[in-house]
């Protein structure tokens, strides 16, 4: 089942001065359950493509369909609502709300979805247990290590029960033990719950584990390599 589809998508910055083709006429399909890494050198368009897939930015041309919905022409408020219910985000710098505890950070997404307080609290604890932080639910981000913060970010991303998770350089700020542990967690979620993960990364550890590696160069797809039998079967 195709979850994300990009049809001749282009993103051009500074169109009126010197046009920069950050993403240039890209065709891409990502299936449900994939564990995909988008790689490429700096300036190749990884982040722009992730922003386009995540509805954080809109294409200059082409069509983006996510979970059967065309998001390329959506209005900003509709896009916010779409992101809330369909996309989970994990950022490089964790980006947790510093004044909230781990549990409150996870709960907050569900609050935005208007889920009842009792349900929110129950699910937040479950998600934190799932990422191995059951003993740190009342800790604030400053009281957690980088790896633990990123685990909270994963729990937060999953709390909204998204169609897929977009992770932008999720291991960039982590030591190797924390990075491996986080990747184990994500891989586990992918295998057990068929959760789709799309990474933008430079990290070889992520690339090694990815079932599919899409290499970008100058805004174009240079290669699209399916490296895992399981993912290949799913495709």
């Amino acid at each position: 089942m195709v979850l994300i589809e990009l049809n001749q998508v282009s993103k051009i910055y500074d169109e009126t001065i010197i046009p920069i083709h950050a993403v240039d006429n890209v065709e891409l399909k990502i299936e449900k359950g994939e564990f995909t890494a988008i790689v490429g050198p700096s300036g190749s368009g990884k982040t722009t493509m992730l922003n386009l897939i995540g509805g954080l930015d809109q294409p200059s041309d082409g069509k983006i369909t996510v979970d059967g919905t065309d998001i390329s022409t959506m209005k900003p408020d509709a896009l916010i609502n779409f992101r809330l219910h369909h996309i989970g985000f994990v950022f490089q710098a964790y980006n947790l709300i510093p004044v909230f505890t781990a549990k409150e950070n996870v709960e907050f997404i569900m609050l935005l979805q208007n889920i009842s307080k009792v349900e929110r609290e129950k699910r937040a604890v479950e998600f934190l247990q799932a990422v191995g932080l059951q003993d740190r639910i009342n800790s604030k981000p400053t009281e957690l290590s980088g790896g633990q913060q990123q685990r909270v970010a994963v729990a937060r991303a999953l709390a909204s029960t998204p169609s897929f998770v977009l992770a932008d350089e999720p291991t960039a700020n982590l030591d190797s033990v924390s990075a491996e542990s986080l990747l184990d967690l994500m891989e586990n979620l992918n295998q057990k719950h068929n959760m789709t993960f799309v990474f933008s990364t430079h990290d070889s550890r992520v690339i090694e584990r990815a079932h599919r590696v899409i290499t970008l160069r100058d805004g174009r797809i240079e290669s699209d390599e399916i490296r895992n039998e399981l993912a290949a079967q799913q495709k």
């Binding site: 916010i80 609502n81 992101r83 004044v99 409150e104 907050f108 937060r156």
Partner: protein, 404 residues
């Protein structure tokens, strides 16, 4: 949870928040205290005027309003007094005979208003008897006693027990002279009043003008100024053939001053809040600019712009209200303290007496001043939050997330 977030955000930078809270608290406290000082002045002015002369309301014949002649008397005034006395809020009623005349000593003379009073009932409506500085209010059995103000005594060059001649027009139009002996000299907060009013017994006046009992003025005193409307309006309706006026009509300059004072106090506090508005805006703007990435993340993960906007408004309102409440409490403590102890202004006695003000100023601020103030703080907070909040919701999540 959104409110919790807003509340906790305020305390992320404690020092900055405390500075702006202190600025709001001190600004508001000073503004309120100054307003309470101004209001206390007015309160003192109106209370001394009511105490000294006006009473809470007065009744005259309608004709008296035009010419102020002694012949313009209140018909059946004893019935009017009896009716007024039936009201439980009335603490005193006194009838007066009013005549414009001249007071002369051996050396000079002065235009005066002669008040022919019942000495006992007059004590229940005015407080001149409390301001006697020489002699006594009135002796029991003497005829033709007069009580005059210190300023008039100085002008006429007389003192206690001196003789004074009053000249005025009688009921038949003839000029009548009567010699009086000064039994008491009073000194009130108003030198103008002291210079232009003399008190004599009504029987002495009636004898001089050869008349039965008459009344030009009925002065009514109530247990408090707040009861004026509830008492005077029914009486005004009952005696529609008479002129019934409350203190605001009798001393329109004081009423006007009061109205202006309220406007002035609101403008004054408004200016303070307006100045604070920039401080609050600056604080909130700094807070927003420091959290650009966070707002980007919030919007990226699905927080609607309206909720981001609301959160910033709530942060600003909370910040302003903390400062506002502290300011209000400080101001209330100061107003209460100086409302009971007073501020000593004896260094300015001469100037204050021109304005009917005592030498001790008691601060006060009516309760009705506070609810609009709370609304003004709320409005200030909302206005101050607008720019930072708009700035926040205009952020593009994709760019904001990568702002370090």
């Amino acid at each position: 949870m959104l409110l919790t977030l807003a509340w906790r955000n305020i305390w992320r930078n404690k020092k900055r928040s405390l500075i702006i809270i202190s600025a709001i608290a001190v600004g508001l406290c000073c503004g309120l205290f100054s307003s309470a000082t101004m209001f206390g002045m007015w309160d003192s002015m109106i209370n001394t005027t009511i105490d000294r002369d006006l009473g809470h309301f007065q009744i005259h014949s309608k004709a008296f309003e035009d010419e102020k002649l002694v012949t313009d008397t209140i018909p059946n005034f004893e019935n009017v007094i009896a009716t007024i006395k039936t009201n439980n809020n009335v603490t005193g009623v006194s009838s007066r005979i009013l005549i414009e005349g001249m007071a002369s000593s051996a050396t000079t003379s002065n235009g005066v208003r002669i008040l022919g009073i019942n000495t006992e009932t007059e004590k229940k409506v005015t407080s001149v008897y409390k301001h006697i500085v020489q002699g006594s209010y009135f002796e029991e059995n003497w005829k033709n006693q007069i009580v005059i103000g210190e300023k008039l005594a100085d002008n006429l060059g007389i003192k206690e027990k001196s003789k004074i001649v009053l000249g005025f027009q009688g009921i038949d139009g003839s000029i009548i002279y009567g010699a009086f002996r000064v039994t008491g000299i009073f000194k009130t907060e108003s030198s103008i009043f002291d210079k232009s009013n003399v008190f004599v017994k009504e029987n002495d006046i009636l004898r001089l003008i050869n008349s039965d009992k008459i009344s030009n003025e009925i002065v009514v005193r109530l247990s408090s100024v707040q009861q004026v409307d509830s008492v005077y309006i029914p009486i005004k309706n009952t005696f529609s053939n008479l002129s019934v006026k409350y203190w605001g009509d009798l001393a329109p300059e004081l009423k006007f001053y009061y109205d202006m004072l309220i406007v002035q106090m609101n403008i004054f506090v408004g200016i303070i809040l307006f100045a604070l508005l920039f401080g609050i805006t600056n604080t909130m703007l700094m807070s927003v600019m420091e959290r650009v990435r966070e707002f980007g993340v919030l919007m990226a993960v699905g927080m609607k712009r309206s909720r981001v906007f609301f959160m910033i408004i709530m942060e600003t309102i909370s910040l302003s209200f903390i400062g506002g409440i502290i300011g209000l409490i400080l101001a209330l403590i100061l107003i209460q303290y100086f409302g009971s102890v007073g501020i000593n202004l004896s260094a300015f006695t001469e100037g204050l007496s021109q304005w009917s003000l005592g030498t001790r100023l008691y601060t006060s601020l009516p309760f009705s001043f506070y609810p609009p103030l709370v609304l003004m703080i709320l409005a200030t907070a909302i206005i101050a939050a607008l720019y930072p909040a708009l700035k926040a919701i205009k952020l593009k999540p994709a760019t904001a997330i990568r702002t370090y």
